[in-house]
């Protein structure tokens, strides 16, 4: 089980960051996106290589309107 943006995802332990982003409809080349796993930034260049362990908390963020 992995936490993706606060939502539980089952049966996907060990998938890569890029695969999790695909869950959210985000292409690997997408601009304006950043990812943190357990409170650490995962640089864009590592998205296809970096496997996400069971229990990890993944935050996938983008630009929203804000002052």
């Amino acid at each position: 089980m992995i936490w993706l943006n606060g939502r539980e995802l089952d049966g996907c332990d060990g998938v890569t960051v890029a695969e999790l982003l695909a869950e959210l409809g985000v292409e690997p080349a997408a601009r304006g996106v950043a990812v943190a796993v357990d409170g650490e930034v995962v640089p864009r260049g590592e998205w296809t290589r970096r496997a996400v362990a069971a229990g990890a908390r993944v935050e996938a963020l983008t630009a929203m309107q804000g002052g």
Partner: protein
């Protein structure tokens, strides 16, 4: 503003002295039109969870308008969260610039001075160009400058309150001492507030709600731009001193005896 009087932050020249916050616009089309009429070159954005249902188009709108993104750390209550958010923003938007907000209280959204200073120091050490949203406390503004912030952004009044500049004397004191740009951030309600900020000697104004929540946001974008420009021109022109009694502008000499 004319190209002859650019705003310079961290060595970068900006022709516009109005920075636009993108928060609160009802539609992206309205935001795009407000950007055009404000003539802003720099606009703030927040970083939030990707919503697969939402059209992923804010980034597109900003790119089409040719403006640069100034990400913020809005919603952070600790230095730790603000630093991590800034790191994520750098990754997402490929910019070292960050509008640093560390909020201490949900009701007033006032900055948490101690967390702000800690976060500012860490981010400067990590190579960020830090623009901190701060209270109108001249001592805190100086401390933020001392740790290497590229500008200081005192509030006029609480975020979104539209209460204008509650303590113009403090803003003046900040301007007097600062050797980095002073950007009036938060509290602007209408064009005259923006003009006053510039007349007090601020180098720029950052404005979101006054424009985005106005009845006609694009028209207010134009008005506040004019306020910023008028206030800047007045500051450079040098206003007359205030005095209690009148001083005739028509001569008494040569007055007819009627």
């Amino acid at each position: 503003m004319s190209a002859a009087d650019p705003l310079i932050i961290a060595g970068r020249e900006l022709r516009s002295r109005l920075i636009l916050g993108t928060g609160g616009f009802p539609r992206l089309e309205t935001l795009a039109e407000a950007i055009r009429l404000s003539a802003a070159e720099l606009v703030t954005v927040a970083l939030r969870r990707i919503d697969p249902q939402a059209p992923h188009s804010l980034t597109e709108v900003l790119r089409e308008r040719g403006v640069d993104v100034l990400p913020n750390t809005a919603g952070c209550f600790t230095a730790r969260d603000a630093v991590l958010t800034a790191q994520l923003a750098r990754e997402a938007f490929e910019t070292d610039w960050i509008k640093l907000e560390v909020i201490g209280d949900e009701r007033t959204l006032l900055p948490d001075a101690t967390e702000l200073l800690v976060a500012a120091e860490q981010l400067v050490a990590q190579g960020f160009v830090v623009l901190p949203y701060t209270t109108d406390d001249p001592v805190l503004a100086r401390r933020l400058e001392d740790v290497g912030c590229a500008a200081v952004m005192p509030l006029g009044s609480p975020i979104g309150s539209g209460m204008g500049i509650r303590n113009p004397y403090n803003v003046q004191l900040i301007v007097e001492r600062a050797s980095v740009p002073v950007i009036l951030d938060a509290g602007v309600g209408t064009a005259s507030d923006a003009a006053l900020a510039m007349e007090l000697g601020c180098d720029a104004v950052l404005c979101a709600s006054a424009i985005s929540r106005a009845q006609d946001p694009p028209a207010m974008a134009r008005a506040i731009r004019a306020g910023v420009e008028g206030g800047r021109l007045a500051r450079l022109a040098g206003r007359i001193p205030r005095q209690l009694h009148a001083e005739a502008s028509s001569p008494f000499e040569g007055l007819a005896e009627l």
